[in-house]
């Protein structure tokens, strides 16, 4: 009887042909098992890396955590496993997957802050060991502390910006997008505009995420300030770029929040295509952003309609068979869910970030912008 031979190259080609996200992840899960069974170190690590990458950039980033843990365990147990990678890619692959495992924790309030700090200490040791990734380390600190202490977050951001780029650094346009976000966070619009200038002018090559990130930062800022004209401008631009994926749920939330005032038909379209991705999502920041937008949308609709007819998934807690929903019920439900998630974040972080963030949306809503 013939024996089935493991051929990583062929399996990789099959993976390449699959669409990003769920499809690729399901295949990768199977292939990881095959690579483990035959003990092929390169593919054991490489496909875990690919799985984490798919989770981070195309699905729920939290799903990168278990494979990052397995990758780390394999390398810690037998560091020579990494030698299957090209020499210049070893450190980067290792640090990158560890980063992909740590980053989602900022958006999972059930993980205690001490746990995150412990992981960051370990990450810092890796940065020292491999002498790369310091800029990324500061960026991660700034990103987490945004929800804890804005000033401290900005200080980390400044360290990040001053540290030289290396192989682990994000794309330049993404980095500038975060700089826009940070500048808007401390109320420095002029600096934000300066940071975004090269992105707007197209002078920087950028990844798919970059334009969405900076547009999202401007959009939320405009909405929080109650500037609907500017918000519409950014919402239209962002709406063109967002995709119907889990990745873009936060952007869906902000776009819905703006379209609630300007184009409820579009907002409802965004709502129905986004809500199906919410169930079972571990990234609570995405859920919070989406629920906040949904709350504003249905609160606005309450002023015009009593009910709406929608096709929602059966898993939605207020699901009705006839698809008719009371706008007021929906508004209240989404508000209480967003508030709940916000409270859990604030409790974990020991701050009021989410409370204040929701209050800002409330203030805009009361004024109806």
């Amino acid at each position: 009887m013939g024996e089935t031979k493991f051929d990583g190259k062929v399996l990789s080609m099959i993976i390449d042909m699959l669409p990003d996200g769920k499809d690729k992840m399901e295949a990768l899960q199977d292939y990881i098992k095959q690579a483990d069974d035959v003990g092929n170190d390169y593919y054991r690590l490489y496909w875990r890396y690919e799985y984490a990458y798919q989770a981070t950039f195309h699905e729920d980033p939290s799903k990168a955590i278990p494979v990052a843990a397995e990758f780390d365990a394999i390398v810690e147990k037998s560091p020579e496993a990494l030698s299957a990678f090209p020499e210049d890619a070893r450190a980067e692959a290792y640090l990158m997957i560890v980063q992909m495992g740590i980053d989602p924790v900022a958006y999972m309030p059930q993980i205690p802050m001490e746990q995150w700090e412990k992981m960051m200490n370990q990450f810092y040791i890796l940065v020292k060991r491999y002498n790369t990734g310091l800029r990324t380390y500061w960026w991660q600190m700034a990103r987490f502390w945004r929800f804890v202490d804005k000033e401290k977050s900005f200080q980390y951001f400044q360290k990040f910006w001053k540290t030289g780029r290396d192989g682990l650094s994000d794309c330049r346009a993404c980095e500038r997008s975060y700089a826009v976000l940070m500048s808007l966070m401390i109320g420095d619009r002029e600096a934000a505009d300066n940071y975004s200038k090269p992105i707007k002018a197209g002078g920087l090559p950028f990844c798919k995420a970059a334009p969405k990130l900076y547009l999202h930062a401007y959009l939320e800022n405009a909405l929080d300030r109650g500037d609907l004209k500017e918000a519409s401008h950014f919402a239209n631009k962002l709406n063109w770029k967002i995709e119907r994926t889990i990745q873009d749920l936060s952007f869906f939330g902000s776009v819905m929040r703006c379209f609630a005032y300007t184009n409820t038909k579009k907002a409802l379209e965004r709502f129905t295509s986004g809500i199906k991705n919410i169930n079972g999502l571990w990234d609570q920041k995405k859920v919070y952003d989406f629920y906040k937008g949904a709350w504003v949308l249905f609160y606005e609709l309450t002023k015009e309609n009593k009910t709406v007819t929608l096709t929602l998934p059966e898993t939605f807690p207020l699901y009705t068979k006839d698809g008719v929903y009371n706008c007021d019920d929906l508004a209240k439900w989404f508000y209480s869910q967003a508030q709940d998630i916000g409270k859990r974040f604030d409790k974990r972080n020991g701050s009021n970030y989410f409370k204040e963030n929701l209050e800002l949306a409330c203030a805009c809503e009361e004024k109806s912008i």
Partner: protein
């Protein structure tokens, strides 16, 4: 020197000019702004075409204009246009000041639409391939001819050109190949680059000594036969395209070709998108929608703005209008194919199903057009939307492994199960069901009763003991046991798992391997789940094996068999076994061997 402090704190009474290091600027241009040194051809074409446009404006009635390129292979290029030329003042102003473009004289506050360049940095790109730039020029205003020579250290010389008699109006730029750039001074390469960058230019471009124009293409593609469009596409892209859709709108003019093979969004695009007849980008992601990856476009754009590198479009309202126009043109083209040749549409769908599905989600009109042709994986094989409409009942599952697990059950029961685990399928099926009011529904965990028949009260009583022991046997593995009837009867157990349980299994597997960095986080995650989601192991009372098991009263035997069946179901579903499951399997297999030996 005066200290400059934050604005407002001290009045600044002295101003200084920045010193520009031209060598540094060149490094920025070649390493950061331009993708390749070959853009010098683009910049020269652009300047030549703009000079001809200017002469047409200055010298009313003159409608000549051409560009001729003379090449000494590997050494030298003479790039000659018969445009407006420059007088002395213009030479100092435009050739010697970086950022000053002769085209930045605005009309009504705008750069005139018929000029291509706008940044005044184009000529610098020539220093990427040549150590000097020599410009012979004679202005249309009748002033003397001049020769200007620029060097990369930022210096230049200017002399009046004395042999005036034979000098024609226009400009000739001479470049000498720098060491390592000889490749760009080869006639074939130059021809290729002219066609690449300047194919859509309205000014004819010739290689000296060759009568055929390098860029002889149409400027309006509406009304051209399909055959001609496809021939042009084959010549331009070297592909035998499936079909061609002409695009003729306010902002766009060209053709969208349908690729003859399957591709996906991550593949390099390779469009030819021109701005004012000069190649701007091959990527096109700012102009074209994400689903356009099944197309190769040749498009000339108007009234749009470039970014400084001239490698993409500037985001503005005009660009948004152009995007809408493109979508409408493609929709119209596909509608026409559907109307004229539905079998060709089917062929297109067969090859580009993923792109078409994602288009159909976004666009209701395209959804109506395509849905009957789109294929879906079902328990009855691949069925089209048209075939699905004929079913009076169906269920769908959004997880591929679960579909595979349930498929034989649905087949045995003669019921239809649709797999919506692939990209776009769930949204499409939802849309499909709502539009045609079909009695299809998603098969959630809670809908398993549709597949699994409940036991009679008598059977329930008869199997109570088995269910209780089986439950105890597998509860430590976050799984519960339930007894049902289902087909096929030779399938003794069925393991079903939700995404939540799947993720919990992954977390548990990762815990087993003990990572320094993540162990604490993994256990926090597992502990944070208040109510652990449970998988379900269904025992099939139609199966002879389970029937026998339900009659046995030996609890330790039932326990061992239940655990082995649990492992068998996991393996059949392609799930990875955890360490504790492997241990348990070894133990229970030995128990069963021991039991069978003792009963001999």
């Amino acid at each position: 020197m005066k200290q400059f402090t934050q604005k407002g704190e001290e009045e600044i009474d002295e101003r200084y000019n920045f010193q520009v290091n031209l060598g540094g600027m060149l490094d920025i241009l070649s390493n950061h702004l331009y993708k390749s040194p070959d853009v010098f051809i683009r910049e020269l074409l652009q300047n030549g075409a703009d000079a001809i446009t200017l002469r047409r404006k200055k010298q009313l009635g003159w409608d000549g204009g051409n560009i001729v390129i003379k090449i000494q292979s590997g050494h030298r290029i003479e790039f000659k246009d018969n445009g407006a030329g420059l007088n002395e003042e213009e030479i100092h102003h435009f050739l010697a000041v970086i950022g000053q473009s002769s085209k930045t004289q605005l009309e009504n506050g705008q750069i005139p639409e018929d000029y291509i360049g706008r940044f005044g940095i184009g000529l610098l790109s020539c220093f990427m391939v040549s150590s000097s730039i020599v410009v012979y020029t004679k202005s249309v205003d009748g002033s003397p001819a001049y020769v200007w020579t620029g060097f990369p250290d930022g210096t230049y010389t200017l002399e009046q050109y004395s042999i005036v008699d034979n000098i024609e109006i226009g400009t000739t730029i001479i470049l000498e190949a720098k060491h390592g750039t000889e490749y760009y001074f080869n006639p074939d390469k130059v021809s290729e680059l002219v066609r690449y960058y300047g194919l859509a230019l309205p000014v004819p471009v010739f290689i000296s000594g060759i009568p055929e124009c390098l860029n002889n293409v149409l400027h309006n593609f509406s009304g051209i036969s399909r055959h001609q469009l496809l021939s042009f596409g084959e010549w331009l892209f070297n592909e035998n395209f499936l079909d061609a859709i002409p695009v003729q709108t306010k902002h766009l003019s060209g053709v969208a070709y349908i690729l003859p093979y399957h591709t996906d969004s991550s593949v390099k695009k390779g469009h030819r998108i021109y701005l004012k007849h000069m190649l701007l980008t091959e990527e096109g992601s700012t102009l074209l929608p994400s689903w356009a990856f099944f197309l190769r476009c040749f498009l000339n754009t108007k009234n749009l703005r470039p970014v400084a590198s001239r490698e993409d479009f500037y985001e503005d309202e005009e660009l948004e209008m152009a995007r809408i126009e493109f979508e409408e043109a493609i929709r119209f083209g596909l509608e026409k194919i559907a109307e004229d040749e539905p079998e060709r549409l089917q062929q297109i769908i067969n090859i580009h199903v993923n792109a078409i599905k994602s288009m159909a989600i976004w666009d209701d009109k395209l959804f109506n057009l395509f849905i009957d042709y789109l294929p879906f994986e079902t328990s009855e094989g691949t069925l089209s939307g048209a075939a699905l409409k004929k079913y009076s009942e169906a269920a769908w599952v959004s997880c591929v492994p679960r579909f595979k697990q349930l498929k034989p059950i649905f087949m045995a029961q003669g019921r239809l199960l649709i797999c919506t685990g692939y990209t776009s399928d769930e949204e499409l099926i939802n849309k499909f069901v709502n539009k045609f009011l079909l009695p299809f529904s998603p098969l959630g965990e809670e809908s398993m009763e549709l597949v699994l028949e409940e036991l009679t009260p008598f059977e329930k009583k008869q199997t109570e003991f088995l269910e209780q022991i089986a439950n105890n046997a597998i509860k430590d593995f976050d799984c519960k046991a339930e007894i049902r009837h289902f087909l096929p009867s030779d399938l003794p157990v069925l393991y079903t798992i939700s995404d939540d349980v799947q993720f919990m299994r992954q977390l548990q597997s990762a815990m087993d391997v003990n990572s320094n960095i993540f162990s604490g986080t993994l256990s926090s995650l597992i502990e944070s789940v208040e109510e652990r989601p449970l998988a379900t192991l269904y025992l099939n009372l139609n199966s002879p094996l389970i029937k026998i098991l339900s009659k046995i009263k030996n609890s330790s035997l039932i326990l061992s068999v239940s655990r082995v069946l649990y492992i068998q179901a996991l393996l059949a579903g392609g799930h990875q076994l955890h360490g504790n499951e492997l241990k348990m399997m070894n133990k229970e297999l030995l128990n069963l061997v021991g039991y069978s030996l003792t009963t001999l």
